[in-house]
């Protein structure tokens, strides 16, 4: 007999093929269910390592975004507070100008002075504005920054400190988020509170009202100039938000490239493996049904 003898037992091979197609099918179904082609590290070890870095970067970008929205809230609170300060100082200037008018009676001038005292109280309250539980003009101190104190020439004492905080809003990119209140309201010259106190004194004593009004004007310009710091901060945040949005989009598209399942391929794989499974099942059903014994003549 020279013919090559073939394996008379194809069943184990067929069963192995069946197990393989079943496993492929399970893999495909898992990819369909999760939408990801990396469902465990061994699916793509290098991809998994990239994915870990990618997810970390995404988490970092998200944290920067959250920090920025929080900082932005603080900056815009400060900015709108200073806007109110500016408005109030404008009102003080016009009151001072009115008081400087020589035709005004003493009683009228004193009532102007008391109106300016009201402004003083208003400024004190604005300078003590807080955001999410902390004072925004106290430096890094937790105490109320400005306290009315008659022993002070300006009538107001600064209890804050001169420290500032910075917050990371990008890799190696940190943004100063506050100015100490002393740099805004009680600089040596011109000081907001000193100028208002001087104006009140001038109105009450009817001396040097013009000089006092000028002082308030200088303070007004100073506060306006300080507002630029907050405006700049908010602009930087807007730019960085746009920047980080596109970084996040890139990162998540990168994530999808690394780990996302190509659904079209998966579905076509699934159809293929189903077909091959059916064929294998049929083959198993049909083999070994027939052999020569079926054709032996009946005895």
């Amino acid at each position: 007999m020279s013919a090559i003898r073939v394996n008379p037992y194809p069943t184990p091979d067929l069963l192995a093929a069946l197990a393989e197609s079943q496993q492929q099918q399970q893999t495909d179904l898992l990819q369909l269910a999760t939408g990801r082609k990396i469902n465990q590290p061994s699916d793509d070890p290098a991809g998994t390592a990239q994915l870990i870095q990618n997810l970390d970067q995404q988490s970092q970008a998200d944290s920067y975004q959250r920090s920025m929205s929080s900082v932005n809230g603080e900056l815009s609170t400060a900015d709108s507070t200073l806007n109110s300060v500016v408005t109030v100082l404008q009102r003080a200037i016009s009151l001072g100008t009115e008081g400087a008018n020589g035709t005004l009676s003493d009683a009228d001038r004193l009532s102007v002075a008391s109106e300016v005292q009201g402004i003083q109280a208003q400024l004190l309250s604005l300078a003590n504005t807080s955001y999410q539980g902390h004072y925004i003009f106290s430096g890094t101190a937790q105490t109320q920054p400005f306290v009315a104190d008659s022993t002070q020439p300006s009538g107001v004492r600064y209890d804050g400190n001169t420290d500032v905080n910075s917050v990371s809003i990008g890799n190696g990119y940190s943004l100063q988020v506050n100015l100490p209140g002393s740099q805004i309201f009680s600089t040596p010259s011109p000081s907001v509170f000193q100028s208002i106190q001087d104006l009140i004194n001038a109105l009450q004593s009817n001396t040097n009202i013009g000089t006092a009004v000028n002082e308030v004007s200088v303070a007004y310009s100073h506060v306006n100039a300080v507002r630029v710091f907050y405006g700049n901060g908010m602009n930087q945040i807007t730019d960085q938000q746009t920047n980080l949005n596109s970084v996040s989009v890139n990162l998540s598209s990168q994530e999808n490239t690394i780990a996302g399942a190509d659904l079209a391929t998966v579905i076509s794989n699934l159809v293929n493996s189903q077909t091959s499974r059916q064929a294998t099942l049929q083959a198993i059903g049909q083999t070994s049904q027939l052999n020569l014994f079926n054709y032996l003549p009946p005895q």
Binding site: P12, L55, R66, Q132, V177
Partner: protein, 458 residues
């Protein structure tokens, strides 16, 4: 000179031979589904001729023996590949269980928790005095510590389970070597009296196959029996004697394998036992050491950073995490947050409560070259890459090995397997030959009758 008696006796040898051949077919058909069975073929030979004067006359046929069709070299290849497969199977199964802990889609993995912790610190920098934000940092730190604890503890449990499997494998090996020694005895007994021992040889092949899937086995064949050793030369079966392996727990709590008083654990490299030992003694301990290194590195770095600052009360910062053991060993499983009071997080760089200056020092750990020049995330990503590669390379090798084994078994079946077609054809052949021989007997008998009746007048 030929004779009718001669014809009769020739036919009788044919009847006996065909009956014997039929037995081979009957046995083959009976064992069509028996694992390891090698088909029998009848070996028919002419009986020596009788020389009468100038004539050389045939004297018939005899059934020399029923021979098993087998290829011992192929059998050896199958055993080698079975060892390889056993090793890969145990290795891949073990590592597959281990890699579950490093799956980033679970959300509870170390990588995700580390990112979450940095994210919470980032939030703290925007509002350093807020107790709720501080509490979030402590919670995230606790989750990070938990993820290290869980991963390390799960790996330790897996290692203990693998250890149990080692003991079970050793028990199975001992059962098999004892059986092989017994079968050797039976083969010896039969072959000493010149009998065919193929049924026992088939059985022994099956047993050696099972043993190969458990441990690396080398065969030394003598005339009648085989001896088995491990590849490093430890005797498992010497002819009719089996050498049992024993296990003994070492100081670290894992079972070592001893053969005749000698520790052979580290010499075993293939078979299921080889794979189990590789996972138990190399892979899982290496993973645990890496986790310990990372946990200790992180805890120390965060502690150093926290100590550089001031807490909400203006006091110098203390430890954020419980200081890891100096050796680093067990750092992952024992990692814990050292403080429960959120105000003790040292966010301030100058002692004023509203300062966030030290948060950036804590955040800087993210990009710090903590271990061998790698940032914590780099180190973790490499660790996961290693686990994933082990599984994926092992699986690829396992598939290849399965394919090879399948082909070898196909090859074995094509040589030794019973084909029902063939047996049916043989059946017809033997039956026809038997019928023909019977017809010759019948004819000879009629001729005798003719001869006997000669001269008898009816």
């Amino acid at each position: 000179m030929s004779s009718l008696i001669g014809t009769l006796s020739i036919s009788l040898t044919a009847l006996a031979a065909e009956q014997g051949a039929l037995e081979a077919t009957a046995n083959n058909v009976a064992n069509v589904n028996t694992p390891g069975y090698s088909r029998l073929v009848p070996v028919l030979v002419e009986t020596p001729p009788a020389v009468v004067n100038s004539l050389t006359l045939g004297t018939g046929v005899s059934l020399a023996r029923l021979q098993s069709v087998r290829d011992p070299i192929l059998q050896l290849r199958i055993q080698e590949e079975t060892q390889q497969q056993g090793q890969l199977n145990a290795f891949v199964t073990g590592m597959q269980q281990a890699q579950v802990m490093f799956n980033s889609s679970s959300g509870g993995d170390i990588g995700t928790q580390l990112s979450n912790f940095f994210s919470s610190l980032s939030q703290l920098s925007t509002n350093p005095t807020d107790l709720a934000t501080r509490q979030t940092v402590l919670t995230a730190a606790g989750n990070l510590a938990n993820s290290f604890n869980n991963t390390a503890n799960t790996l330790t449990t897996q290692r203990a389970n693998v250890d149990l499997e080692v003991v079970q494998a050793v028990q199975q090996i001992n059962t098999l070597t004892t059986q092989i020694a017994q079968v050797n005895t039976q083969i010896n007994a039969l072959q000493n009296v010149g009998r065919d021992a193929s049924a026992f040889i088939d059985q022994r092949d099956v047993l050696v196959g099972q043993l190969s899937s458990l441990i690396d086995v080398q065969q030394i064949k003598s005339d009648s029996s085989i001896s088995l050793t491990t590849s490093s030369g430890t005797a498992l079966v010497a002819d009719q004697q089996a050498f049992t392996l024993t296990t003994q727990q070492d100081a670290s709590g894992v079972q070592h394998i001893f053969a005749q008083g000698q520790d052979i654990t580290s010499q075993l490299s293939s078979g299921q036992l080889g794979g189990l030992i590789q996972v138990r003694d190399q892979k899982i301990p290496a993973l645990l050491t890496s986790l310990d290194t990372l946990a200790a590195g992180l805890a120390n770095a965060f502690n150093t950073a926290n100590q550089a600052g001031f807490d909400l009360n203006g006091n110098p910062g203390g430890n954020l995490f419980t200081p890891p053991p100096a050796s680093g060993q067990g750092a992952a499983s024992s990692m814990a947050v050292a403080i429960t009071d959120p105000s003790l997080i040292a966010a301030s760089s100058d002692g004023t409560p509203g300062s966030n200056g030290n948060v950036s020092a804590l955040l800087a750990v993210h990009d710090q070259p903590l271990i061998a020049g790698q940032t914590p995330t780099d180190y973790y990503a490499n660790l996961v890459f290693g686990v994933g590669s082990d599984v994926s390379n092992g699986s690829a090798e396992l598939s290849a090995s399965q394919l090879i084994l399948q082909q070898l078994q196909d090859q074995r079946a094509s040589i030794s397997g019973v084909s029902l077609d063939e047996e049916a054809a043989n059946l017809i052949q033997y039956q026809r030959a038997y019928e023909a021989a019977a017809r010759v007997v019948d004819t000879a008998s009629q001729m005798f009758a003719t001869l006997i009746n000669m001269g008898v007048t009816p």
